[in-house]
Subunit: 803 residues, 2 copies
């Protein structure tokens, strides 16, 4: 991800097929580069077949006259002329080593990245490198994954060698599309001229439409039997297609070299110009532009892969020696605002988006159905968070709209049971919630929360919000902190817990004095509210387990359970309908394993009447939300009159891309449940008796405990992918800067001398993190490897413990 | 699009490359089908090369023993063994016909569809058809477009013949991905066994992960020189790979046939089950489920292409003879709720989504930037609707959230200039708008509109709404209708206009008595509002030109111009800041050429301080919105305090897929501006003097005029892609059913006997349409062909005029 240098232009060469002239044209490109005076490198990451036929040898043979400026090498070599993944197995078998493990993609990528760095640092003069892949774009790498996927972390600009034979139009375009599905920048398509099939005549306008230059050169002469004769004619051929003085420069590769140089310059210029252009045109969300001091405060994301952004390195752009990489990896420590699920640019999600787009685009949804939406609804209702209680799925565009839909559902259900309410009463119906709640940025969703820093002029807080007890780790001990408003209840004291599982096995805690104190507190609060006549409550709305935007508050789940029980006990519906108040679980953030459980119902031991899922739902690719509702909620809108329907619906409701990406995400999550990393994490957070805990975390328990003991840390807490660290500060809350300042050095890319980082390619990386006032939080994807998480823990420890 | 029959299973056969055994394996498939007793059809749409080598001849030769049950044919035949697009040119050249036009994709698709229909109707016994394509998936069709694109309207399930040679893993996977990008259903990958390269060993688990069955068969014997010997061994080979009694059925195609039969049955079962499953699980937007009488009221959309859905045909599923197609095309007459821009499943938009997903997935946006978002912001500000006035682009998830952002911007800008307002005042700040306004479904956006049928319990209409005059065509005359509230102004009378251009050349009308009456009416209304003390207005919010959800009301643009002038004249800002009230243009629906103009500023002759674009912005693929703001609005949020920022931002803000699809859409619109269809439409709506009109429509002027004269039509109106028809009814408004009942028969697929429809494949089609009470509207994509629009006009005319 750090493979961009000012002086050192690198291209990877992919072939539209085997036998399309990849080696010949790469040799010629290297030769042409050298003839223009560039220090030139040729790299074959993996070679299969006899040594004497190897591509790097071919390059050496035909560029010997430029030897001082061409360096050709191969990193992994295998004898058998078959696909690399097979060659590595055959070699192992030949050595009698049946247990041999193939080099992983990371090993190959690290080796290439190291080689690139070494060469880039070996010269400060203009240099070119060509990395020639094996076979076609999807020919397997050593590990068996596709080369197009294996090399993706390096994100190298690409030369596609097109196919000039019969059928070559198709294989060239298909290969291009496979590269495009991985986001590669394709600078040129290069192929042999063929006056019979004329593929280039077709491909030139085709690719011109797509902004890609197509170049052709004459095909090589037929192979001669006499080696020395063959060498002579071949050498002459190379001269003819690479010479800078050719009469028609269109016919030689000098033009292509000039084009590639210009693509490289343009890319640098664009990256260099982006901070200012963004600073001048973009209005960022949740950003005080008055505090953005200039373009130096803008992060340019050139691409992203897995858990890392590839960002421009500001010192690199200023470095006049030009040796420094202009890109560096940055760990996406907020999971891109809590969305990342399986890492950036996951090929399966791209494919899901592509196939839905290709089959439907977007199609009308009212009274219609398409497979992606139907499968999603069925999955969520019958085999997901709605299991056991939900009857209907309503699809909208994001968490905020999903919550507005939920509120509209609850308000209608409530008012239908309360015909005494007049229109003015209805406008003022209130939400019962918890202090610190946040349900999205739209004005209606905000009105379900207290007035606070996030609210706008029109904000009209409708409801009543209770002070919740919270769970945290203080000085190495798991503690339940009880708010001051409960201080009049003697049973409501801070509780120390031996394990997280004890806290989250709510059923076991229902008969404790603390549960009774909670019940009494809630009862009295509601009675007193009723007595003083307002606001009339119409729904209970909670973010179960964890309130995110409110400051990563881990609410004592026992409190939320007692709250639901109390609300439902106060007035009853029939056994099959909602009772007391409709209960909404806002699981937009916590749902679908973000905090280790698929949904919070099984933890709390109670289920909502309405729930909302979003964020993880679409795997971190694009927005979509689903509001689930019980049958009795749905039936509140059934009538003969259209005006009584739920008259809410966005134009792109249930867009097939979003639904299909959600379905794919849910399938990937099913596989993740069986992954070794999850099993190891579950084991590390097992109950004291060794049994599986209902909750667990991808973060290491010892790390979380130890860091809570540091002098500047007030408390920590973790569940699932989330780690929260509260930094000591006199002015707590959203406007505090304590967390920002304590952790600022995390942003700097650094690694111990000579140590490969856990980022793809092993380059030093910084950590992007977000704070909520005095709370810094770190969030991984659901499939972030334990290796990466351990390295983040090390960096965090060094930053906070100073060692 | 109507190529699914219960008894007649059809598959198209695509090859991963040329020379992978496509003809051999298709011949074998046909043979295996015939041996199972199926009537079998082999279709080669396009054949190139010598007649005696033609694939259909090969099929006939080797299946002669099944001749009674195999029918092999070719539709378009060319002698030269080159790519079809080239073969057609060479043939024309050989005939001395240099002007020859290649058969279009539509011609080829219609011919195939007809052949399929003919064969399907020729038998009611189980039958199979194999349609063998030429070369690879992207080998050019006769027209020069790719076969994968050309045959897409037929949406046939696919057999992919994999490549068993070196490099074949790559070409097989790339070909698969190209098919997937077009949404094809792939039922099987079939390739030769090769014990050296072992591609199948790799491809089997690869495709199993993707739900696709991979089958292998032995490769054919080497070709013998003696024709009769060669025939004998080849015939024996075919017998060995197709025989139903082979010892190991894994090795013969009988297994594949059984699998394909089962895929076909499952698809039918799934389509058949979908209405009930949807009826049981989905909560539709804007649908009164109490009026959905059962699964028969559910439309199943199997796929979509261009302007048409492919929906299940209910009578087809009930037809016991089984001869009827189970799918039929349906014209998407609401542009899928006003979103469709370039037709469903447009390959360029799929590619845009794919490349952004492959490069970034989604990435964090606050204080960061990526190319797709930056390009979109720059384009909209400097070379789009923001040109000349906008300074900043704020990106959100859909039109409704974009409008909430706009409202938050305006309210803040207003309150900063009015420090006298306390918190309670701020909550009640009002919007000045027009009756019939609609700005999205979220509660805040709804509060900017009057109470009405769409509003929910919390709705609190904040503001004041004026009665707007409207433009319509009544009994063949263009009329401006003045509302009753203007009746006290003698100059405010119904106006007849000679042309639409007269109405929309607002500048020319500024000094008319009507303009003066408008100004006086607005002034007095505002004065009177101020006098009676409320509500305090903080922003002017209009949908310029056309109010959609309010009932397709074409507002007199002069009125909106005078309104903006009046508001801005009442209190002034400096020349570089907003004055009077911040002005918001809600162009979510009308923007970006939906009503023939890119934005409404040039029509009204005034520009907003804030505007919102969505819907067309992303080409009809997925949601995204951009709120543009002027410098003085942006600066209202600049401060040293984070809490003063615009604290709004959705998790997936500026998701790269949405931004890149928007960029692609804007590029396509640029090309559309030069299209023949647009130029012809502009010419048909030219000014009386022949000059270009500022507005125009894709609908035919004579048609729109004539239909307005029909007895049951109250009025019509059109601009751009939109046609509105108001049906006479005593109970007008949203609850009226007059438009629904007058047009119901449009839903029925019908075409005159023997006439090919304008839908892909030429099958009879119905029209999906939406109504808003007594108004029926019809909306095309921006690139719907004049041929399709003329055919819709014919159907409309027949329905309404009854002839």
């Amino acid at each position: 991800m750090s493979t961009l240098f000012r002086h050192f232009r690198i291209h990877q060469v992919f072939g539209a097929n085997t036998d399309v002239g990849k080696t010949i044209l790469t040799t010629a490109l290297a030769s042409a580069s050298a003839q223009r005076g560039n220090q030139t490198f040729y790299l074959k990451p993996v070679s299969t077949g006899p040594l004497e036929d190897a591509d790097d040898h071919h390059v050496n043979r035909y560029t010997s006259k430029f030897k001082h400026s061409i360096h050709a090498e191969c990193l992994f070599r295998y004898d058998e002329p078959v696909s690399p993944h097979l060659a590595v197995k055959l070699k192992a078998a030949a050595n009698g080593d049946t247990e041999a493990i193939s080099p992983s993609d990371a090993t190959v990528v690290d080796a290439i990245a190291n080689r690139i760095l070494m060469h880039a640092n070996s010269t400060s003069k203009p240099a070119h490198m060509y990395m020639e892949t094996a076979g076609g774009v999807h020919s397997p790498a050593l590990s068996g994954s596709s080369q197009a996927d294996c090399y993706r972390p390096l994100f190298l600009p690409t030369i596609l060698i097109g196919d000039s034979k019969l059928g070559g139009i198709s294989s060239t375009i298909s290969s291009y599309e496979s590269l495009l599905l991985r986001g590669y920048i394709i600078d040129v398509v290069l192929l042999f001229r063929d006056n019979y099939y004329r593929n280039a005549d077709y491909l030139k306008p085709y690719f011109a439409d797509r902004g890609i230059y197509v170049a052709t050169v004459d095909p090589p002469p037929p192979r001669l039997l006499d080696p020395s004769e063959n060498f002579k004619v071949t050498d002459k051929y190379y001269a003819s297609i690479t010479a800078p003085t050719a009469e028609n420069p269109e016919d030689t590769l000098q033009n292509v070299i000039a084009h590639l140089d210009s693509c490289h310059s343009k890319r640098l210029q664009e990256l260099d110009s982006m901070p200012k252009r963004a600073y001048d045109n973009i209005w960022w969300p949740f950003v005080q532009h008055g505090l953005v001091k200039g373009e130096q405060d803008v992060t340019v994301i050139d691409s992203a892969y897995s858990d890392f952004f590839s960002i421009t390195n500001k010192t690199g752009f200023k470095d006049t020696s030009g040796k420094q990489s202009l890109l560096e990896p940055q760990f996406d420590g907020s999971s891109s605002w809590w969305t990342q699920t399986v890492g950036h640019a996951h090929p399966s999600l791209t494919m899901a988006a592509a196939r839905a787009s290709g089959r439907y685009g977007h199609v009308m949804f009212p009274q219609a159905v398409h497979l992606p939406a139907l499968k999603l609804a069925e999955r969520l209702i019958h085999d997901g968070p709605g299991k056991g209680w939900a009857d209907r799925a309503f699809i909208s565009d994001n968490g905020s709209t999903g919550m507005e839909v939920a509120l509209k559902m609850a308000l209608r259900a409530y008012t239908l049971r309360h015909p005494e309410l007049n229109n003015e009463d209805k406008k003022q119906l209130g939400i019962l919630g918890l202090k610190g709640s946040y349900h999205g940025d739209t004005i209606g969703a905000m009105d379900a929360c207290e007035e606070g820093v996030y609210t706008c002029e029109w904000h009209d807080a409708k409801g009543y919000w209770l002070d919740p007890p919270t769970v945290g780790i203080k000085n190495g001990e798991i503690s339940i902190t009880v708010p001051a408003s409960l201080s009049s209840f003697p049973e409501a004291k801070e509780v120390k817990a031996a394990s997280l599982s004890w806290v989250y096995e709510v059923e076991n805690r229902l008969r404790t004095p603390l549960a009774q104190a909670y019940a009494l507190y809630i009862q009295r609060a509601l009675d007193s509210l009723e007595k003083r006549g307002g606001p009339k409550l119409a729904a209970l709305v909670i973010e179960p387990i964890l309130m995110g935007a409110g400051g990563m508050l881990f609410v004592d789940p026992l409190f939320q359970r007692v709250l639901v029980d109390t609300v439902r006990g106060r007035r009853s519906g029939s056994s099959s309908t909602w009772s007391g108040l409709p209960v909404i679980f806002d699981e937009v953030f916590v749902g679908l394993h973000r905090v280790s459980v698929e949904s919070s119902g099984p933890i709390l031991g109670v289920y909502p009447d309405i729930s909302v899922n979003a964020k993880v739902l679409t795997g971190g690719l694009l927005p979509l939300a689903v509001t689930l509702a019980s049958k009795s909620i749905f039936e509140a809108f059934l009538a003969d009159n259209k005006a009584d329907a739920l008259l809410h619906g966005h134009s792109y409701t249930a867009h097939p891309i979003g639904c299909e990406v959600a379905n794919e995400t849910l399938s990937i999550l099913d596989k993740l449940k069986e992954s070794d990393d999850w099993k190891a994490a579950q084991a590390s957070w097992a109950k004291p008796d060794g049994e599986k805990s209902p909750v667990w975390s991808l973060w290491d328990p010892n790390f979380v405990m130890e860091i809570s003991k540091l002098p500047q840390v007030r408390e920590t807490m973790t569940l699932g992918t989330v780690l929260a660290i509260k930094i000591k500060d006199d002015s707590a809350g959203y406007t505090s800067n304590s967390a920002q300042s304590a952790l600022r050095s995390l942003l700097d890319a650094s690694e111990a001398e000579g140590v490969l980082s856990s980022a793809p390619g092993g380059a030093p990386f910084g950590i992007h993190y977000r704070t909520l006032g005095d709370v810094a939080y770190f969030m991984t994807s659901l499939n972030t490897s334990s290796k990466v998480i351990r390295s983040i823990e090390d960096k965090l420890w060094k930053t906070l413990a100073g060692s």
